[in-house]
Symmetry: C2
Subunit: 294 residues, 2 copies
C-alpha cells in the first residue's frame, strides 16, 4: 500500500492512495467476503482508507503501520498510448525493510494473491502459511527480473499462476512469440500463466487450453494505474468465491478481473472502484459477453 | 496482383506472387462460388497462378494483362514484432496507369471488396457498376491519406464498410482512442468500421454494437504479408455466401476472415492458402470459438 503521483495526458494528481494491495483488496472484496490483507505503511497513510477497506469486509490485521516512517511513494508519467510510462520518482521508505506478518487466522488461507513486490517478500508470505494453499497467484515485473532473478526463480517454483504483461513474458522467457514464451515460463514453476496485454486484453494458458479475454474498448482510458492489480484482485476474488481452479472457472475469473480493470481506468487511482457495486460488475461482465460472442 | 520480395526474421524470398487481389480472391473463393476479379498485371505475371484462381472458380475476365509491361513489385522487411515493416522497394509498373475494366457480367455484383489501391481507382470501380451493390467494403492505408486525401474522402462516401489498421484509424481520425476514432470515421461515409490490429485481433463497429475478434495465438508468425487482404477476402466471402449484412453475420464474417489470416501467416506469401480446404477453415473457426468462449 502506497502513495502514487500520476501524470496522464488528461491531468495529474499527487500522493493519492495506491499500491498493489490497495487495488487487489478493493477488487477482491467485491467478489469475496473473506479478504485478508498483508501490507506495510508509514504513519502518513490515511486511516480513512484503511477504514474503508474494513467496511468492505477486508481483514486488516496483517497491515503493519510503522510509526515514525513514511509509506512507499511512486510517481510516474503516462504517454498518450497509456501502455508505456516513465517513472519519475520512487521512495521505498517502509518497503525497504518489509517483513510480512501473517496473523494466526490468516495462516490457513486457501487462495493467495502475491502482489508485485520483491520476490523474497513474496516467498516469505508462502513460507509463513501453516498449510499448502489451493492456489498461489503471483504478480511480478521486469524490475525483479533485472535485480533479483535468483529470488524470482525460487518464488516461481512456489507459484501456481503467474500474471505478467506481454513485454515481461518476453523478457522472462527470451522468446518473442507469446505461445513459446508461455511454454518456457510454465517450465519455471507456474502451471498456469496469465499474460496481461493492457488495451489488447489478456491470455490465459491453462493445461492445453488457451483463453483470450479482450479489453473493453473505452472512449477514454483516464488513468491505467492499478489496472493490473485490480485485474489480479478480481481474478483471485472470483476463484476464491467459487472455490474451483478448473479452466471454466479461471476464464470467468479472467473476465471478472478484466471487467474490474475496465472500471479502474475510468478515474484517478482507486476512486472508481470505490463507487461500484456487484450489479455494476455483473452488467459490465455482460458487456464482455456481448463483445466476444459470435 | 503483384510480385513481392519479403524479408522476415525467419527467411527471405523474392518475386513471389502477391498483391491484394491475389489474397482476396484466394480467400473469398474458399467461401463463395462467384468471385469476379478486377486487376492488372504485366506480361511477366505467371499464367500458372491465374489458372489456379480459375480452377478455384474465380472469374478472371476482369484481369488485364499488359503486354510489354511489368507487374507491380514491392519489397519489404519485417521486424521481429511482425507488426512493423520497412519498404525497401516499390515499382508501380502497370499500376501507374491502371484503368479498371468491368466485364458486362460483373456489373451487377452485389458484394464489392475494394483492395488497397489508389482511392481514385477504387471509386472508378464503383462508378462502373450498373446498379448500387448491397455492400461496398474498402481497404486503404496511410499512404493514400498522405498523398490522395481528397480522393480518399470521396471514395469513403461510396463505402459501407472500411477496413483499416489501428494506426491508420488514428491517423485518419486524429483521435488516439479507437472508440472516438470510430465515431469520426463513420461520419466520413462508412456506416460500418473494421479496425485490424494484427496480432491483437480485430474490432467491428456496427450500429451501436461492437464485436472483438482475437487473433489466434500462434507459435510462429512466419510471414504476415497478405494477412490483411486475406482477412478482407474471408470477410466479404462469408457475407456474400450468406447474403446478409446484419451484426450477427458480420461478426461471423470477421471470425472467418481472421481464421483465414491465421493460415496465411504460416508460410511465405499465399502458399498456405493454396493448401487448405473448407474443412480446415471450419476447424480453425472452431479454435476461435474455444479461444473466446467463457
Amino acid at each position: 500500500m502506497a502513495f502514487d503521483g500520476i501524470e496522464t495526458p488528461f491531468g495529474s494528481t499527487d500522493r493519492i492512495v495506491g499500491g498493489a494491495a490497495s487495488y487487489i483488496s478493493l477488487a477482491s472484496s467485491l467478489l469475496h467476503e473473506h479478504v485478508n490483507l498483508v501490507a506495510v505503511v508509514g504513519e502518513d497513510f490515511p486511516q480513512d482508507f484503511v477504514d474503508t477497506l474494513r467496511h468492505r469486509g477486508v481483514n486488516t490485521q496483517g497491515l503493519q503501520v510503522k510509526q515514525g516512517e513514511k509509506s512507499f511513494y511512486w510517481k510516474g508519467r503516462y504517454h498518450l498510448d497509456m501502455n508505456t510510462r516513465d517513472t519519475l520518482a520512487t521512495e521505498l521508505n517502509v518497503l525497504g525493510s518489509f517483513d510480512p506478518v501473517l496473523p494466526e487466522n490468516y495462516r490457513n488461507s486457501r487462495y493467495i494473491m502475491l502482489g508485485n513486490l520483491s520476490p523474497k517478500v513474496q516467498s516469505t508470505v508462502i513460507e509463513r502459511l501453516d498449510q499448502k494453499p489451493e492456489l498461489v497467484v503471483m504478480d511480478t515485473m521486469n524490475f525483479w527480473m533485472e535485480s533479483a532473478m535468483d529470488d524470482l526463480r525460487h518464488t516461481l517454483t512456489l507459484t501456481d499462476v503467474l500474471t505478467i504483461n506481454d513485454e515481461e513474458a518476453r523478457q522472462l522467457s527470451g522468446e518473442y512469440s507469446l505461445v513459446k514464451a508461455a511454454k518456457i515460463i510454465r517450465n519455471m514453476g507456474p502451471r498456469i500463466l496469465v499474460i496481461k496485454k493492457g488495451e489488447h486484453g489478456a491470455l490465459l494458458f491453462h493445461g492445453d487450453d488457451i483463453f483470450f479475454c479482450p479489453a473493453l474498448p473505452l472512449e477514454e482510458v483516464f488513468d491505467p494505474t492499478g489496472a493490473g492489480d485490480t485485474f489480479a484482485g478480481g481474478f483471485i476474488g472470483y476463484i476464491a468465491r467459487h472455490g474451483k481452479t478448473d479452466f471454466d472457472t479461471m476464464r470467468k475469473a479472467i473476465v471478472h478481473g478484466s471487467a474490474l480493470a475496465s472500471f479502474c481506468v475510468e478515474k484517478f487511482g482507486p476512486e472508481r472502484l470505490l463507487e461500484i457495486n456487484e450489479q455494476d460488475l455483473a452488467d459490465r461482465v455482460g458487456r464482455f459477453e456481448q463483445l466476444s460472442r459470435f
